[in-house]
Symmetry: C2
Subunit: 414 residues, 2 copies
């Protein structure tokens, strides 16, 4: 049995690059960017008017102010947004300008409408305090042509979508997602639409996993295989060929019908770990099948591996192990760096076994502190308790007493 | 000009119920649940074996232990998961049991394989410390038939999906989403695929808004209208009929071509607010068109309103106002209660104007504290700065000096 930390290291050493695809930018939210996004021109691309008002020549304004002359400027014309630049012909005049417009030639300062009175084509400036180049957003201030605006490996959000549109990236390179099959085993399981007999329950873990992967924008397929070794072996052999990742729920512990570890071995899936010193989720199995070049996948750009996550069948075990192991494996595979979050334990907790304890907690924000309040669950089979929590606090194996106020890593799922 | 708090109150008093629809449960992640989810049987539905091992009668075990007799139990049979309950016929014997199985009749305690040696059909228990009913997850412990497992108005996540599957809710009632049209105005804007002339820029705000709504699972449509009042009026009249919500970016300020407030008035959209004491995003316009029952929407279950959010055209203004106003409006409309988050300011900030300041910040977790570090932006036009931040810290209007260590509400967008 190995420690959680060791398990995580093994898994992070088995990541895989699934390549790059080009997709319409508006479909890319949640994807991991696989190219640097450069400014295709200066931003702003011209001296941009930042307020609705009038544009004047600041020298003229200052000299009138100094010599106590009237601050009246004849309006020469209008510069709307989206029109070619016009010119202030006479520096004693002004031009009405709109937010987003080019600053007219020979003008350099904008006074907003709120500080001006306009009558009969004459604008009177009602304030003295005016700064040179005020209310002008200068060309290139936010970025120069060729600047990197978004770095490769950024997770694309609404903020990035705006920049992609601005620089004309209607198609964008993002990380390809792994092709994932999620398999449940267990003869006690029936479909969601079926009415279980007394000794049966409905399948749920595969759907939980589908949803946890959906959060990462990973589409997946699901299958159920009965606890029959030859059938398991035959189906898994096919899945190993056809998918990048197989996720299993169940059949990895010590039960008489926990055939998966044997089947994996017989199919040449190398066991990289089995059993982690943690609760829940201890019987976790992880391995990899490396196909030789003689295999049908040799045409791929990347050497074909299939990664196998064998999660224990209890609902909380499957859930926490997907978050604790599959998520970081995925992040590293696609090049995303995710900062570890920490939270403050709200109550004393005692946990005797020499195991890392993934404690179910409800999170709240108090004065800028992220506070984790334990949720009383009934053990790893208590699916409903996941509804009342929103994260797992990761309490280390080398302590038994965890005090209110102490800080631990937190893995959230909402 | 009104305060941010007043603006928010007005908006939250204009929420609307869009009704309920029933969808396949696996498509419901991110939706707001509109029914209580009840347990369709006890959970667990039977006394459930929680470890692979042997099941014995605890009285028999204790009496042997007391009288120092051998802890050897003949294996009478196997109880796999998914099989009908069998019976321990002779209390001096045991039954092999698998995780997830029904506890055999007449047995009450499970000893895991790790603590047992099995040879020639006899299981020898190697430990003395055994508790009555250990490793048994008792029927009904997690919930009783009829218990509410998930409350109405919960946002559905992977945790809820597992429960929905378990209770057989293959279809589930969720909040209908509003039908949204997002409109940009401004003659300076060209398409993402086009090459702008010097005085033009590409459309970006509508796509940012599409992405911000996508985060709420709200599909939306987009349109661009040139700064031409008759065309604006004609198109908006149609949109008011056809959509529940219109989002505009631009044309709500003081510019010569900022026709929207006039057009809204002429079309009978009641202005509920215009201009909020905030930076960025001050020229924000919000209103509502109430259609009488004579209108074509009279067949609807709900009185037909159309809500109009007129966001200022600067990228950061549109972005922050969508988060600060549209998001809470949507949450309340669909019945979701969202806790306010707070973060700790990492540096002193001075902001003189008597306006609420939405400061762009980068968030980090330090010892369970959520720390907000200001990002230097170049004003409301600086779209690229959104990429470097991940939230807005909301600094109140009635102060000018904000000290490192002080706590303020935070609105995150990643």
């Amino acid at each position: 049995m190995i420690l959680v930390k060791e398990a995580k290291n093994i898994i992070l050493n088995s990541t895989q690059n699934f390549g790059v695809k080009e997709i319409p930018f508006l479909k890319s939210v949640g994807s991991i960017l696989k190219e640097d996004i450069l400014a295709d021109r200066d931003f702003p691309p011209f001296n941009r008017v930042a307020m609705d008002g009038i544009a004047v020549d600041f020298q003229e304004f200052s000299s009138r102010l100094r010599s106590n002359r009237q601050l009246k400027f004849k309006i020469e014309g209008i510069q709307p947004a989206g029109s070619a630049q016009i010119t202030l012909k006479n520096p004693e005049n002004c031009i009405e300008v709109m937010t987003g417009a080019m600053l007219p030639k020979n003008a350099n300062t904008v006074i907003r409408y709120e500080d001006v009175t306009i009558e009969n084509g004459i604008a009177t400036i009602n304030i003295d305090e005016i700064k040179d180049r005020q209310n002008v957003h200068p060309k290139g201030k936010d970025g120069k042509l060729g600047d990197v605006l978004i770095k490769q490996n950024t997770k694309i959000s609404a903020a990035e979508i705006g920049v992609l549109a601005t620089v004309g990236k209607s198609f964008v390179k993002v990380a390809k997602q792994p092709k994932v099959m999620i398999v449940s085993t267990g003869d006690e399981l029936v479909g969601v639409d079926e009415t279980p007999l007394e000794h049966q329950i409905r399948r749920s873990n595969v759907f939980t996993l589908v949803s946890l992967l959906e959060k990462l924008n990973i589409p997946s397929e699901t299958a159920h295989i009965t606890d029959d070794k030859p059938i398991l072996k035959q189906k898994i052999a096919t899945y190993l060929q056809e998918y990048d990742v197989l996720l299993f729920s169940g059949a990895v512990s010590k039960g008489k019908f926990d055939f998966l570890p044997e089947v994996f071995k017989e199919l040449g899936v190398k066991k990289l770990l089995h059993k982690v010193a943690q609760r829940p989720g201890k019987p976790f199995w992880f391995g990899r099948k490396i196909f030789s070049n003689a295999d049908k996948h040799k045409e791929n750009q990347y050497k074909k591996n299939t990664i196998v996550f064998g999660f224990p069948g209890n609902p909380i075990s499957t859930f926490v192990n997907c978050l604790a192991y599959f998520y970081p494996w995925y992040y590293k595979s696609v090049g995303l760096s995710v900062a570890e979050e920490t939270a403050i334990l709200a109550e004393n907790v005692t946990f005797k076994p020499n195991l890392t304890y993934f404690l179910q907690v409800k999170l709240s924000y108090k004065f800028g502190h992220l506070v984790a309040s334990p949720i009383a669950g009934n053990g790893s089979g208590d699916l409903a308790s996941l509804v009342h929590a929103d994260a797992f606090l990761q309490l280390p194996n080398d302590k038994n007493e965890f005090k209110s106020g102490e800080v631990f890593p937190v893995i959230r799922y909402r």
